[in-house]
Subunit: 467 residues, 3 copies
Amino acid sequence: MGCVQSFRELCDRQKNTNVRLSLPAVCIVWQTAMIILFGVFIRYNEESDAHWIEHRKAKNISSDIENDFYFRYPSFQDVHVMIFVGFGFLMTFLKRYSFGAVGFNFLIAAFGLQWALLMQGWFHSLDYTDGKIKIGIENLINADFCVAGCLIAYGAVLGKVSPVQLLVLTLFGITLFAVEEYIILNLIHARDAGGSMVIHTFGGYYGLAISWMLYRPNLDQSSRLQGSVYHSDVFAMIGTLFLWMFWPSFNSAITDHGDGQHRAAINTYLALASTVLTTMAVSSLFQKHGKLDMVHIQNSTLAGGVAVGTAAEFMLMPYGSLIVGFCCGIVSTLGYIYLTPFMEKHLKIQDTCGIHNLHAMPGVIGGIVGAITAAAATESVYGPEGLINTFDFVGDFKDMVPTQQGGHQAAGICVAICFGVGGGIIVGCILRLPIWGDPADDNCFDDEPYWEERQYQSHFTVMCSLP
Amino acid sequence: MGCVQSFRELCDRQKNTNVRLSLPAVCIVWQTAMIILFGVFIRYNEESDAHWIEHRKAKNISSDIENDFYFRYPSFQDVHVMIFVGFGFLMTFLKRYSFGAVGFNFLIAAFGLQWALLMQGWFHSLDYTDGKIKIGIENLINADFCVAGCLIAYGAVLGKVSPVQLLVLTLFGITLFAVEEYIILNLIHARDAGGSMVIHTFGGYYGLAISWMLYRPNLDQSSRLQGSVYHSDVFAMIGTLFLWMFWPSFNSAITDHGDGQHRAAINTYLALASTVLTTMAVSSLFQKHGKLDMVHIQNSTLAGGVAVGTAAEFMLMPYGSLIVGFCCGIVSTLGYIYLTPFMEKHLKIQDTCGIHNLHAMPGVIGGIVGAITAAAATESVYGPEGLINTFDFVGDFKDMVPTQQGGHQAAGICVAICFGVGGGIIVGCILRLPIWGDPADDNCFDDEPYWEERQYQSHFTVMCSLP
Amino acid sequence: MGCVQSFRELCDRQKNTNVRLSLPAVCIVWQTAMIILFGVFIRYNEESDAHWIEHRKAKNISSDIENDFYFRYPSFQDVHVMIFVGFGFLMTFLKRYSFGAVGFNFLIAAFGLQWALLMQGWFHSLDYTDGKIKIGIENLINADFCVAGCLIAYGAVLGKVSPVQLLVLTLFGITLFAVEEYIILNLIHARDAGGSMVIHTFGGYYGLAISWMLYRPNLDQSSRLQGSVYHSDVFAMIGTLFLWMFWPSFNSAITDHGDGQHRAAINTYLALASTVLTTMAVSSLFQKHGKLDMVHIQNSTLAGGVAVGTAAEFMLMPYGSLIVGFCCGIVSTLGYIYLTPFMEKHLKIQDTCGIHNLHAMPGVIGGIVGAITAAAATESVYGPEGLINTFDFVGDFKDMVPTQQGGHQAAGICVAICFGVGGGIIVGCILRLPIWGDPADDNCFDDEPYWEERQYQSHFTVMCSLP
């Protein structure tokens, strides 16, 4: 014990995890910058401005219920729960990193969404008449989506980085996301309602590339904390279930009013149900005694929601959704069993939460499903107006046909992967600078370096070290 | 310790809990069947199909907000939370069965809702022009409702069955439910918005009958695990509260647009508030030192929501709702104190979660309240159009009067009980076959037989066995 | 150990915590009174009554979706979650008072909301034609709001009072709230959408005054239980996050249809995001090693939502919301670091949850922000109709101008503080009577006096007393 103690002290001397100056400085400076930029750029849009009553009359809108708020607010709140409770609690499975999981998730999200409102606003909601970004409920949802990309990346480096590193990861992540999203949605004109490509593929590869750059060869020394305890697994199920339940809202939050939102919710509901069954099947089949593994239940059951993201608003058909979910449950669970250990051993990618299996792979599958579904679209299935409406074949793109759209969708996948891997490598380089207060190997997966321990530290240590 | 070990090994030899072949086989075969059946039968309805835009114009619907999605989606998501988090966490109270509670609940629900979409679809949403079932948001809610019946039944056998048995229980449960529901709602023309009869009475007696068939005379041997620990009781409160809070959405989810949903939510809100007070009162009154019992708070506080289910959409009046809640809090808590031990000792019904007190009895009360309220309806209270609207006196039933409706409601209760008891006995016989991998008595209420234990098993055992 | 035992027995003899008669008596009598009063006074309003269909046609309302239910129900459910899960779990941070936190919170809320429907109904929803209170969804939201004031007060006395005392606190609290609210909103004509003044300032000072009256000089004896354990802090984060996420619904739940709800949600979303960053910054800055303190993250991150309550529906502008959140994160966190210990030591106010930092101070700040924003309102920013609409310059108040409104807002703050402090002192006197079954100092912060302990008591004690 004394030996471990002295070794730890040695590490602490090498690695200074004190973020007393850097964390407050980054937070305060950044928040001040946000206030200034919001003051210069951001205003309410016509649906959230007090002029709405006049606007309504001018546009002959018959009722307040036509305000976009009522179309999207319930979905927004569900997405909000996914971001803060879903992602936060999903990561509490580690026996001694619950504060970091929930707390830093909270920090990243609150930090990122402000920057996302600005970045996405410049690309999508800039009013050229007065140079202001006009925001409404849809912008809030998009900001939450944008943050999701960074939270996914956090999953890969969970427990191995300092909060300051996470803020840097988020700052660059949001910036890259906004550019990538603009290219995919506006320049390439791909559709991606639930963000299979834009959010999950990008976020997944971004995180994996960073984790690869931050490879820790001797991490197994801290393996004593890299596992779960009984109750931490139950806490993680809170995250899993809120993600699972509200995923239909995630995929339908920014789709077209009416049938678009309706269909996206149904497709996601079905894909997720299917995933649960195949995940349980594979989890049981690949264990010696047929027992289920909590890691698979917590994560792979969600893969169907990721994979149906792009195609959720298309006429994927109920059985199509079930097929997507079926495949993803199998692929994702097998990923946890075979791919994650392989990646750690041979590719030097340490993926704490297995985001490759939950986000990156299903995201790519989702992109492919979207491309196929789009290419196969016909007027008889969608109706002439429905086809234009669903694929937004208007303006510059009014001459596009479904097969072309399929190609554009495929191009979108490539852009997302490139931005993820490329951006991750660059940001990973930055994060390797020895100034960010990251923990020593022996302090990984431990709340102790960054969280005030009150009376319970000793108590907990005793609990964990029981035979 | 060695003695217990060898006894357990003996049991394990007798009872083989290895589900490595059966569980994956059932899941994969079933999911494949679902894909095929969905491919043959299920399509989007006109509100979730891409033809909506044309349909809207043809029907002269002024706005996308008139799509049923916006009437029901918020309620749907609340119901969804009740099914997965509510029921799941409510059952985590056992000290060592949280994975089974949340995880198998998840499995049953995901498995059952697909079958429910088909079964209910054939009865209620079949489009005779093309032989397809057309689904929309209301079907998703009904599928969740249907699953609730099976989850209630799971409460009675919690900790005593294998996941494969649960899938069998669910398969037959959903089938019986759909037939029973069709008889009660369509043939008998009873109204049951919140499913007091259709869901709770049926589900309750179905589970109790199964538990009776699976009676384990020596179960007290495993009593070491049949209790709660401090934190498991707090986890269970998560389930309780989400059920309690969202019950107004449950009872109003499929009622009529407008006043129907509005009134059902108000009635349920009031009944539940009243139940909390009488539950606390009775719980305190029947303890030697006036202390409150967590079991009552976790369960009986919900009885008012069950009992107001049928009458929630009627003009029950706010004070009527309070009276229903008042009575049910008392009845349900007394049930936990006197009836559950009596049933276990004398009727050989082992009811792990006390579903008789939370679902079966309040469900029957709810049916009776519904019958009385319906029989007492008058045109002066409902208005001429309101009366027709509320009780759906149209088509074949346009000559019905409220007193008749009361009789039909009463008939509905009988059908629900018969289906529950009868179906449960038959399914219980099937579940007694020695092929399903159920646990030995000594392994009941323990996650160990079906869940991979990682490092924490030994740790937990030490914690539990502390003096 | 024997010494502690005998001392505890001595205390138990002095203080009788047996509530076996008083708690059931109060609950049953009160609930019966509620049934009678509801029978005499409360009916459905025209939107929840079965006559709605005729009312709709008479008023030429084109669709059921115009029913207020669809404008407010999603927000209502979010508020409901805040009241029961948010407040309940936020208080579970104590290592051995989770049952009391969640359970008594549940009791108070269910008890209070019925009384609130009556009290607020008499002031706001009385139909003078027939002397009945007509309720709809907005009344349910207001009842939840009213209860929030009492739950805030509970935070100050958490762990130090009996359930009967809490019911007395709630009974008077709701009554005072309704009168105070009527004065502020109707007589003074201040606006307070999110209740910074009406709910948070009142509730905060009400609780602090009661805590001052119930000062326990020797409370440090029970300090062994006045702290958290690892998992109790994670449970508390469930409360924090649900409060944080749904606060935009809280502040927008009863604002004007259309832009009012839309803007209130955006402002609250932004203020809360900003608060998280400054809370983290200050928490880290004021610790020796730059570590974050869970108490601050659990509480101060919410202060921005409180402080933006009054002005949320005004044209505060997105950057204005960020500024409010920025300041409140700093003020609230500093409050926990300096003010709470100071108040306990020098002012004899023992504030278990730190409600002064989370509710009272930010509430006053919110009132001031509201006054300034109102006074600064101009027609060019709001539009002529928007100004009238937002500030409700109609009827008796149609000649008011924004600067006057600012003065009225300021008057509102004073009324809220006076009612809180004055009411709290009077109720505190009543609660000092030795008939309520409150616990001895040594039994404070312990579930044992009021909750049935099953097998786990001894187990827990061992866990807590480990070195």
